[in-house]
Symmetry: C2
Subunit: 555 residues, 2 copies
């Protein structure tokens, strides 16, 4: 009789879309040998994480158990799956396994962060398998919006787990392997304990559309264009980039790739042999000498990112190229929720230059990379697992996906980041709650999302900042008057006098009258001066600023 168990613990990606990180373990409780599936990033925003560079899962739990970690498996090369592998390698120290294209991207990230690329090992597709302690893991090709995405077939002493990765059911994905129902059925045949499954599109009720459907529409659009054509999509969507390039080529246009990520992805796809027949590409310099109606630019910046090629073209020149009245700009992409403002800004800037902008609102020029609701039902049936564990989704997606699975007669559960499940039995059970959270890469330092550092920055953004300087002599008496500096506050308030003058006067009056025991105590002075600054500012300008009080003593 064995007391060993199979556990599942999402550290990121379950209860959000982004920063995926899923732990599996097998062994005696507390002694399980572990593997990690994916280690991705999420992106900061001004609302909650101003100044932050990248966000990834808090891996403290895993770091403390690094000696039990056998390996890291990366399903595909999207940033929310591979983006933190290099950032966290030092803390984890386990080998990283991926298919060739993903490994190519992961190795470049390792080098960027000063790590050895050799720890990333290339694995061929199923039926090749990797041994990792009690786990045997194979990479099952799935179609998605990036080449060589993989589901993982994870064999354990407690049975087989299929971890879907991000996927869609595409019979004709343009680049890479089509969805192969026979292969999925074969994987399911020996019996599957758990399907841990992408939930992104569970609210989309129609079957997903094939990548191949957008080609004819894009070709038609480009063929009818009269000026320069500029198109954007996710750089990693190599199939789409190829479709766009071919549409340009067919219309007798020379193709230019703009943006570092765009060139990097095509390079990786070419190096790993998954991209052939890509039309010849010319440089921006060559393009500058050509008539604009003979050009097709494919550019980064589908989400309106300020520094990307699309936004730079919208504002002015990019590498010597410039849009003009009568040009066409195509968003062959959807806007990720939260990025609307940036995208709309770019559209309006193009509008000001007389450029016609076409977006995906017609549904003609973009398809999603994720399985829709009927596709999920089909996969549940094909794999036929005992239980379905929804992942890769916000809470609403996980909940809906769990309902869908239960409606199909399978055990399911909504497991969010930090919930440890035991999958050994017939149905998943919660066995522990781990402290999970977010780590910020802030400049070059890793900080906790709840450390208060970013909260302080948000407060300064909302309230402004006042520095108060006070000097006290050897007898703890004020030496001269207190001094105020403000940042981010109006100069003049309701008194029609300079805010700093009013503040300094109020602070001085307080210090003149303060008792000796207050003046001897730095904490008391600080607290009193802070309170006065906040109260006076409230009266003068209707805001309570953040305050730094510096007390200098001559003794």
């Amino acid at each position: 009789m064995s007391s060993e168990r199979l556990i599942y613990l999402p550290l990121g990606g379950a209860g959000e879309i982004g920063m995926n990180a899923y732990v599996y373990g097998y062994g005696k409780p507390g002694k399980e040998r572990l593997i990690l599936v994916d280690l991705g990033v999420a992106f900061p925003d001004m609302d909650s994480s101003p100044g932050v560079d990248l966000i990834f899962a808090d891996i403290s739990w895993l770091r403390e158990r690094a000696d039990r970690l056998e390996a890291v498996f990366v399903t595909h090369a999207h940033e929310d799956h591979v983006g933190a592998v290099a950032l966290c390698y030092e803390a984890l120290g386990a080998p990283v396994y991926a298919r060739a294209f993903t490994a190519n991207i992961a190795r470049a990230k390792m080098e960027e962060r000063g790590q050895s690329p050799d720890v990333v090992r290339t694995v061929s597709a199923w039926p090749e398998q990797v041994e990792a302690g009690p786990f045997t893991v194979g990479f099952l090709p799935v179609s998605h919006s990036i080449p060589e995405s993989a589901g993982l077939v994870i064999d354990t002493p407690a049975g087989r787990v299929v971890h879907s990765g991000d996927f869609k059911l595409d019979p004709d994905p343009v680049v890479g392997e089509p969805f192969d129902p026979d292969l999925w059925a074969e994987v399911g045949k020996p019996g599957v304990k758990a399907l841990v499954c992408d939930s992104t599109n569970v609210f989309s009720s129609h079957p997903g559309r094939s990548e191949s459907e957008v080609g004819p529409e894009i070709t038609k659009l480009v063929a009818n264009a009269t000026g320069m054509v500029v198109a954007t999509t996710f750089a990693s969507n190599v199939a789409r980039v190829k479709t766009l390039a071919e549409a340009g080529h067919r219309a007798g246009r020379s193709v230019v790739l703009l943006g570092r990520a765009m060139r990097r992805m095509i390079e990786a796809a070419t190096e790993t042999g998954i991209l052939d027949g890509f039309p010849r590409v010319i440089s921006a310099e060559e393009a500058a000498d050509m008539p604009r109606e003979r050009l097709m630019l494919i550019v980064t910046g589908s989400q309106g990112e300020r520094r990307a090629a699309s936004a730079q073209l919208a504002r002015g020149k990019y590498r010597g190229l410039e849009v003009k009245e009568g040009d066409l700009f195509l968003f062959s992409s959807k806007t990720i929720p939260g990025n609307e403002r940036g995208v709309i800004r770019v559209i309006n800037q193009f509008s000001e230059k007389g450029v016609d902008v076409v977006d995906d609102s017609s549904g003609l020029y973009h398809v999603s990379g994720h399985a829709n609701r009927p596709d999920l039902e089909r996969v549940h049936a094909l794999i036929d697992p005992q239980m379905v564990i929804p992942m890769h989704g916000e809470h609403r997606h996980l909940r809906e996906h769990a309902k869908l699975a239960e409606a199909g007669g399978r055990a399911s559960i909504v497991a969010v980041n930090g919930m440890m499940l035991d999958l050994t039995g017939k149905a998943p059970t919660v066995v522990d709650y781990i402290e999970s959270g977010r780590t910020y890469l802030d400049g070059t330092v890793k900080i906790g999302a709840l450390d208060g550092i970013v909260r302080d920055r948000i407060r300064m953004a909302l309230n402004g900042h006042v520095t108060v300087t006070v000097i006290l002599d050897e007898e703890d008496e004020p030496l001269g008057e207190p001094w105020c500096d403000t940042i981010g506050l109006p100069e003049i308030g309701s008194s029609r006098a300079a805010l700093v003058d009013i503040l300094e006067e109020d602070l001085n009056q307080f210090l003149m009258r303060a008792e000796a025991k207050t003046l001897r105590d730095d904490d008391k002075i600080e607290e009193a001066l802070r309170r006065i600054v906040r109260q006076t500012s409230q009266n003068e300008i209707g805001k309570k600023p953040e305050v730094t009080v510096v007390v200098s003593r001559m003794r």
Copy 2:
């Protein structure tokens, strides 16, 4: 022969959706008598305006010509049309005209800002007219998503202008007057020089749907609900609030209105006699004692606003009421671009509590308040103006609307904020560019968007802040060591020592070696110390913070 002219000058709302403010003038160039149509606000966001309370058009141009301003006309009571009337009244001093419901809301705003409500004068609908210098202005009832919206019929010596306001063509708007094509045709009959026209929905290609269409769907949804039903919409959409309340009432539920704005709007509609037959409303306290399946809450917060009733219910209790598993939450509203993150946060919080959330993605539970593309074409034809001036839209909307008008054989032009048009001739001509922009209400102070105050706050949010204090003695020699305080920065950097210690050491080394002429010069010291802080921080933590240097001298 006359050299007088009719001018149009948008100060806000043309090139954006929000903070509407349109000036019309008639007279000799530079001496035109003026009227202002609408004076609304836009709302701040963390990306561009953290800590700001409200945004409205920079009215400097108008303020300098306040002696020529005859009146302000407000088309309807949405915040982006009426929100800044009270804020700017002191600067303009002209009487404010509006229909009864709008006037009721405007008067409350005047009182809130300590102004007399009496300057707001109530006008009946067309054919009543107001004389304002060379202008004669009538309020033409139009259907929209708020009661008593009006287009303005502006008669001038140069001809008639129709200023559409925000409108849709609704034959059955539930509350208020239906669209009356005969009335519009009658207004157009004498000949109309210019139609200045709402452009919001120019990209929506199907005819707009009636407010009355959502009633049966909402009734069905509520009738089938088993737990408590909570619904949100814009508080000002009185027709929708009535529809929701009636759906609850029909299902045998008691209706509760939650949120100050919700109660205020129903009160205004009742006071002005435009709302009758509204079901009896009970208080939150009464509701707390009732079985939840007998309750229908109608709440503020359709845009996910953190402090609104919906967000508070999503987080926990609101006025003693609480959602539970099996309850239903309905967004009878659309998410305004930019508010997606807040709305999604609320949806996921409800999901965590087991509440089923229904949004407008089905199209069943919400209709827009603006005229779609075919509706715009219909109005162009009904009014049959010489020229169409698109307003109330981002650049892309104005451009598309101008194209539409030109395709219909009418003169048009894309006129954005600050462009002064002469409408006297057969087609609009640009006669001047006025400096336009945004004013922020920041706490209680009005500041310019480009004053640098908010920019400094954004920089602190991105980069953090360091205060450096240095004391110099009578001989300009450092007295003790420099002192650093940080806010919003990590404590430990790459040296594995406290960041402030490293900073203080570097600053001290500089001061020990600094030449006397540097130490005598505050500006030189400040510049040098700031540079050192930024460089050392870059090395230690990969960020260059904002720096305040305080130099105190004993002399």
